[in-house]
Symmetry: C2
Subunit: 313 residues, 2 copies
């Protein structure tokens, strides 16, 4: 399984922003391409719709011998995680399968079983599908439409200087198994939006450094992380040359990262632990005025480029 192509490189980010600049949009588009989901005013009283598309590809996001039910789980789960990032509720999904030459119908059925089980658990209706040939490898595209109350939608932008930076779950080493089994943090995100309204939220798919980078850029602020506070997954601590770098850049965590005013921190953490005893939640740093991503270690302060390149001060 090659890891690199699942996370877009600088060239892809550049291309995406060139393409995004020329996309036609209309008045109904509250937030277009660039956040975790597009936010649409579809005429539903009191609600916005969230539109998301995503795909997983054999040999890129999963190996040929991966459990097909887990592959289906991952394909839908990634899109669910993006709906979670905006505190939304996923509603309707459509699936496009690119089938390789000589595909095995049982495998395809198992992939659907994995998707259907996850869809059922989150009240998602699977309303359509399409099959095309993609001769060399399986390609699973998932499109998801969700909804969110207009006053509870959380965007990437909005982080304020002084806010704490919070992360659910654990980071790094996802490749050992988590990337096929993760639980999209839908319930946690909706609860947070309902009771504390974080100033910004994003889901962690490309690694904390990169994804937090998007959140910082959107608000033109910086962050100071505390190394000792980072929830590094056991697999990253055991296997990675640098567990810290693994936690920051491995990707595929599918956890929430959000910012919240310090005044709310204690009350929120107390109630969160009570409501979600099985979901770890840690404050990993704070938003600062000066742009950039710094991490405070025992040995000093390291500055990290938000695309994963590391520079020591």
């Amino acid at each position: 399984m090659s890891k690199a192509p699942s996370n877009p490189g600088p060239d892809e980010f550049e291309l995406i922003s060139r393409l995004t600049a020329k996309l036609p949009t209309g008045d109904s588009v509250v937030v277009g391409a660039g956040d975790d989901c597009a936010v649409i005013d579809a005429g539903v009283p009191g609600k916005w719709q969230l539109h998301k598309t995503d795909a997983v590809v054999e040999g890129v996001h999963f190996t040929k011998d991966a459990d097909p039910q887990q592959v289906g789980h991952k394909a839908l789960g990634r899109a669910l995680s993006d709906i979670a990032a905006m505190a939304g509720t996923p509603r309707w999904a459509t699936v496009t399968l690119g089938l390789p030459d000589g595909f095995d119908a049982e495998t395809v059925e198992s992939i659907y079983d994995g998707m259907a089980a996850l869809a059922k658990r989150h009240g998602v209706s699977l309303v359509g599908g399409e099959m095309v040939a993609n001769p060399e490898r399986l390609f699973i595209g998932v499109s998801l439409v969700g909804e969110v109350a207009r006053d509870k939608c959380l965007l990437r932008s909005g982080a304020n200087v002084g806010d704490g930076v919070w992360v659910t779950g654990e980071l790094g080493g996802s490749i050992a198994g988590h990337h096929l089994e993760f639980t999209p943090r839908l319930a946690e995100a909706r609860w947070l939006a309902a009771h504390f309204l974080p100033s910004a939220m994003i889901d962690l798919s490309d690694g904390l450094a990169g994804d937090l980078g998007h959140l910082l850029t959107a608000a033109n602020v910086g962050v100071e992380l505390l190394e000792s506070a980072l929830p590094i997954r056991r697999e990253a601590r055991l296997r990675a040359k640098s567990p810290l770098l693994a936690a920051l850049t491995d990707g595929e965590d599918y956890e929430l990262c959000f910012t919240l005013g310090q005044g709310q921190a204690v009350a929120m953490l107390d109630r969160f632990k009570n409501k979600f005893p099985d979901t770890p939640l840690r404050c990993v740093g704070k938003i600062v005025d000066r742009p950039g991503l710094k991490i405070r270690q025992k040995s000093g302060v390291m500055e990290i480029a938000t695309r994963g390149h590391v520079h020591f001060q």
Copy 2:
């Protein structure tokens, strides 16, 4: 360009119906997988939403040397044609690009230009995109959400014995160019639904025989076509061994096929010609009681399996 894989074979149809049977759906799903689009009650007063996903793949739906703007046009146009089939208005699209190794950024931009131009013409907002690696070939997934007045939505089911069967445009030989340049019949479909409310409608993507077959099965009826009435494209008449078979089974026509009570036929045709002088419209046959697809020729009556196999009586 291999033609076969773009049209699903019997195995795929079987697999699709097995998969469709176990998809979870909810009360909000008016029509799930199986029609041109899913019909969703998303809570929009007076309207239903139409959800559609589709994809085109290099070497399957277009050649490597095809004009990239036309490829973008086709990728979005196919989904637009499905929204047209339900008399809907397309609103929001998301795009997933599977990029091959060493892809050319200019080509990708041109594909987007082609999509953006068509989107603009039909008032569609392109609200999001995702890029993944698909090492061997370009893969373009398009998901589209549209809307339709609740009392004007046209389904595949509903054809009545005695109805005329109508087809816009011309059929067959699409491969010579039409498949990259077609105009989705959105305006025609909405006008028909507003003024005459056809009993059933479908778009022609897999060939008249196959697509009309879906329409017949949905209503448990049959059809008798008149060979001399079929609008066979010049390219099919010149190039195909059997122009008739080409018109029935080539696919990629992206035209409308609908059924309408005979009492409305003359008035509809008159007003249609006046409103859409550049869109050919022909009555090609009529719905009959006995299931099956028959075609009346000078030499007699031929019975055609709706999946493209031909049996002479």
